[in-house]
Symmetry: C2
Subunit: 339 residues, 2 copies
DNA sequence: ATGCTTCACTGAACCGGTTAATAAATCCCT
DNA sequence: AGGGATTTATTAACCGGTTCAGTGAAGCAT
């Protein structure tokens, strides 16, 4: 059976197709009485707008894109992304937009994808995640003239509006918790230095621990977020005689791997060393002991970012949104340091 | 700057827009010489088809949908889905299609989404995952006339073509491995009974263990795939005097939780009980001991399913595709049973 | 009654492709 | 050379919406 079109509605309601368009989009040009008649007809026919036709004439695809340049392997274990996507979709659906989701190899491929999406008019704008140092994406998007919102940090170049979580104060909160327990030597196992949020956390860690620092001991180790490097970093940190009594990991996978590595090295958790993970996930609750973690509301974060992007598409001015400090969930992996 | 259209190409090459359309789509109606001239012009202008215009006239959206009715929480920890999506996208990109990805609450919402996607002509077809017992989706899709491929099993009703992995033989392979090690009492912690692949595995487990079964001991426990129920099931299985010496879990999260629960109950892995997980992931390698798992090639699986759907859209007849048996990766969590 | 504005609605162009119908040019065969 | 088939190209309609210029008719003040 053929899908009903605007012409069918017009015929049924005895008006022109232009009047139908006005009525369906809630714009002036038809009387209230006629509008009701048209809406009733549309409803009776079960009409839904053909997105292609609408996109073609209104020059609005009704869809936004999300490209993620991370290996699928890494993505899978992080619940953060699915929560993020879930939040994004809640907001998009609410406002009748669809999400084009794409995994890409690297930032270059991501820019290529943006170029294609834009040329094909597949999307009206994109959500950019994982901002990096010297990120080529904002400039590329500006040169394309493509609306975008940066989810994960303020844009250092000030090109794209951003939505982000206050990593610095979150880190301060973690260090404060460890200080309260009595820890003096705290270490940080961070993610790759290219990512802005990682760098924000590292800087905040340095600032928060500076005062009580223990001379020349290496207190920060950079990794690629993988479990392998998380374990390796842990072993090297615990090898020193006056090793740290607490370690903060930039994600959950590394924290779990680190805990395993500590145990194998004969270091008890939390008796000898306390452990804090950066993301709350199932992983943090199935381990023994359960992990103290920093918990962010990824879903709300995604919804806000998507909302800002749609606002932007509706012509509202670009603005930044900074979230509250995430909550620290204290579980069994943190305790006072050994006497 | 305005995007180039086929009218621009036509002007540049000195032909009509119809000739350009023929040339760009590789169909007869233009000479080889003219075709080259047109392609050169298109290339020079950096032309890309406007998907909305193409969708409107060719009645083909150039996009397929993937709706997933699982809580975002569960999805996140399973690397399977990201690998699946990655494979799907590789195939779709190859053939110039986009992926609309959507998380939904339940199967009813999923059907509602299909209805909307179809009415709006957003997608040309969908990939249906997680087939269930008495699944309403195939019939709903048939009544819509919407092309679809069922990823995860043959359609019991025979409505949709399916792509799936041979769960039965995979389970047989696991049980064979445990038998070779000498295990007599093997248990199965399965997922929810509503899912077809879960039921296939359970049936295969029963068949494979029937001969050596130990009287009335409960050898199978049904769960919701969560770490909580995985741990609970493990505790109840190990409580019996002649508890099983090996447990097969239907996913990785439950296996990890089960291992933790066993340790807390004073049962050593693998000395007292062997553990096998159904999905290989980072999780299975960061634990101590590392987990013996069944490893499927989710990426290739996704690519195949997407390929079948595109073939279907191209008018090819619907056919089923069954994959080879997945590989069993033996690690540290399986060993001979205690003497 | 006249002129002017406002309101409700229509007709037609337009978005950027695809495609059926048609016409012109070329080829082939007797 | 003549007539039909084939190749190459064009014209124009069409997909299903949006939007703008234009047309009556009603409302209002003078």
């Amino acid at each position: 059976m053929r899908r009903p079109t605007i012409a069918d509605i017009a015929r049924r309601a005895g008006v022109s197709s232009a009047a139908v368009s006005f009525a369906l989009n809630g714009r002036p040009g038809v009387s209230e009485h006629t509008r009701q008649r048209i809406l009733a007809a549309a409803d009776a026919l079960g009409w839904q707008p053909n997105t292609a036709a609408r996109a073609l004439s209104a020059k609005r695809a009704g869809a936004v894109g999300l490209a993620v340049a991370r290996p699928a392997r890494t993505l899978g274990v992080e619940p953060f992304f699915m929560q993020l996507i879930s939040g994004i979709q809640a907001e998009l659906s609410e406002r009748a937009n669809a999400l084009l989701f794409h995994l890409v190899e690297d930032v270059e491929a991501e820019i290529g994808l943006y170029r294609r999406w834009w040329a094909e008019r597949r999307v009206d704008g994109v959500l950019v995640v994982d901002p990096r140092a010297a990120d080529p994406r904002p400039a590329a998007l500006r040169s394309l003239g493509m609306p975008a919102v940066l989810a994960g940090g303020p844009d250092p170049e000030g090109i794209l509006p951003g939505v982000w979580i206050d990593d610095a104060r979150a880190m301060a909160r973690i260090v404060a918790h460890l200080r309260e327990l009595g820890h003096q030597r705290v270490a940080h196992v961070s993610g790759p230095s290219g990512l802005l949020h990682t760098e924000r956390r590292s800087a905040a860690f340095q600032a928060a621990t500076r005062r009580g620092a223990t001379g020349t001991a290496p207190t920060a180790v950079t990794t690629d977020f993988s479990e392998t490097e998380g374990a390796r970093a842990t072993r090297s940190l615990l090898a020193a005689a006056d090793h740290p009594t607490a370690i903060v990991y930039d994600n959950d996978v590394m924290a779990v791997a680190g805990m395993s590595a500590a145990r194998q090295a004969g270091v008890a958790v939390p008796a000898d060393v306390s452990i804090v993970a950066w993301e709350d996930s199932t992983l943090c609750r199935v381990t023994h002991p359960t992990l103290t973690t920093l918990s962010r509301d990824a879903s709300r974060f995604g919804a806000t970012a998507a909302g800002r992007l749609l606002d932007l598409l509706d012509g509202e001015p670009p603005t930044d949104v900074e979230f509250d400090v995430p909550e620290l969930i204290v579980r069994e992996s943190t305790a006072p340091p050994p006497a």
